[in-house]
């Protein structure tokens, strides 16, 4: 019990100390910054409070793009992994290609999507889809294929066909991996959506807000957008954790 309290108190104390140091301008002294370059926490908070509806609206635009892209990307990624599982020899080569795709920088994708799609939303969804697809395909593939050898033998001994093995063994086995992929994807989809907005033709959203406010030298507003984006990321991440805890009650990692 005591250690649980300590687990909470230590990081909390550290966080408060950090914000105090920031607030009192010690960072500014060390790094030789002016307050207008790095606004203090109270200023960020008051700016955010004053512009709350606008920030929330921009956040909604970005998050909805990120979520739609993530859902489409995850489905395509899973489909790729499933196809690769059914055709092991050629599928393995396909997975190498997908792994390479995973290493392609998001910023390089963003201008391509800007050429292909005309609206900011479609461009955003395109970038997020490409990013999420790769991570999901890689994780789903290892989930569908890292099976317990005994289970496979058992399936073969009852003459189960490929489809039955897939449904009864591979699919449940892949579930924890799918959640791992979703947890990775939730953060990267928000990043991808924001980066896409830096360059896309959109005039709303967090990325546009950050860029626009920095251009107008309104640093505090830029920082409040970062705060909102982080909060959204944390909330979505926790949502996935909750679903995971519910869906994987049977799995060892949850016990």
């Amino acid at each position: 019990m005591k250690s649980k309290v300590m687990n909470l108190l230590w990081p909390l104390g550290f966080g408060i100390a950090l914000i105090l140091v920031w607030q009192l301008g010690i960072f500014h002294k060390i790094l030789d910054l002016k307050p207008f370059q790095l606004p203090v926490p109270t200023e960020i908070a008051s700016t955010l409070a004053a512009n709350w509806p606008k920030a929330l609206q921009d956040c909604g635009v970005t998050i909805s793009g990120a979520l739609i892209g993530m859902i489409i990307g995850s489905f395509i990624g899973f489909a790729i992994a499933a196809i690769a599982t059914f055709f092991p020899k050629w599928g393995y080569g396909g997975m190498i290609v997908v792994t390479a795709l995973n290493a392609v920088p998001i910023v390089a994708l963003s201008p391509i999507m800007n050429l292909w799609f005309s609206t900011g939303m479609a461009q955003k969804i395109g970038v997020v889809t490409a990013v999420c697809m790769a991570a999901m395909a890689i994780n789903a593939y290892s989930g569908l294929n890292s099976l317990n050898p005994y289970s496979i033998d058992l399936m073969h001994s009852v003459a189960a066909n490929k489809w039955t093995i897939f449904r009864k063994l591979r699919l449940p086995n892949s579930l924890p991996y799918l959640f791992t992929a979703s947890k990775i994807n939730i953060a990267s989809s928000i990043i991808a959506a924001i980066i896409s907005e830096y360059f896309a033709s959109s005039t709303s959203g967090l990325g546009f807000g950050i860029k626009d406010n920095l251009r107008k030298a309104e640093m505090a507003m830029g920082w409040s957008y970062i705060v909102v984006a982080s909060l959204a990321g944390v909330i979505l991440y926790c949502l996935i954790l909750l679903v995971e805890r519910d869906a994987l009650k049977w799995h060892a990692s949850q016990k």
């Binding site: 687990n7 290493a103 201008p111 953060a187 830096y198």
Partner: protein, 265 residues
Amino acid sequence: MIGKKDQRTVAIVWVIGIIVVWELMAFLLKNVVHDPMAATKLPYPHVVATTFMENWRMLLEAGAVTFSRAAIGFVLGTSVGILLAVFMSLSKTMERIAFPYLIISQMIPVLGLAPIIFNIVRDMNVSRIVIAAYITFFPVAVNMLSGLKSVEQEKKDLLFSIAANKFKVYQKLMFPFAMSYLFTGLKIAAPMAVTASILVDMLGSKSGIGVKILYALYSDSANIFWASVLTSAFMGIISFYIVIFAERLCLPWQNAVPGKEGVRA
């Protein structure tokens, strides 16, 4: 399982297949759909290849600027990440303080900070290095720590029983054990460091591959644009394979599988 030679053939067939499909798509877009923007939207791959050949010196120079900054930041972030992981494994208090922040920071869109850091530092090279280091730091620290923590207690007890000191335990047991975890983190971090570096390029740097992308985009030179985008894509892929190569070199006993999942910032 499939043999090594087979794997290579399959991979080559895939690459050729993709180029053929691309060629076909470009042809369809141009001659069947009659898209007036076809040459910009999806140029023929052989056209892009020739553009690349003609401008390879410029592209490689720009790429080298971006890549070297990413590499410096990557090394810096890796060192800080490893140091923090070691501190956290040494001291319970340190882990209690830092670990929640490591986890939370994974959910924060770090690259969203890029323009802000750029605005604070006001120097392209420094901000490129800072952001690349910052983004490398988290996956490295998290994975390294989980490696250090998964050493079995029995092994540690054995070393302590022959009166090994803490330093020796780390040198002989903990570090070698955590290496494969560290490389998982590095594999995630390497392409992200390149991404960060390119992003800073595009936010208003003077040199680097990102500048070439933007410049080509605005000056309507589609072929240069596609060649630059492909160069930057290859930079990410190359950084990934450099880490895999280093892993094979450092951990020859481990059969590196590309795309092992892990924690990503």
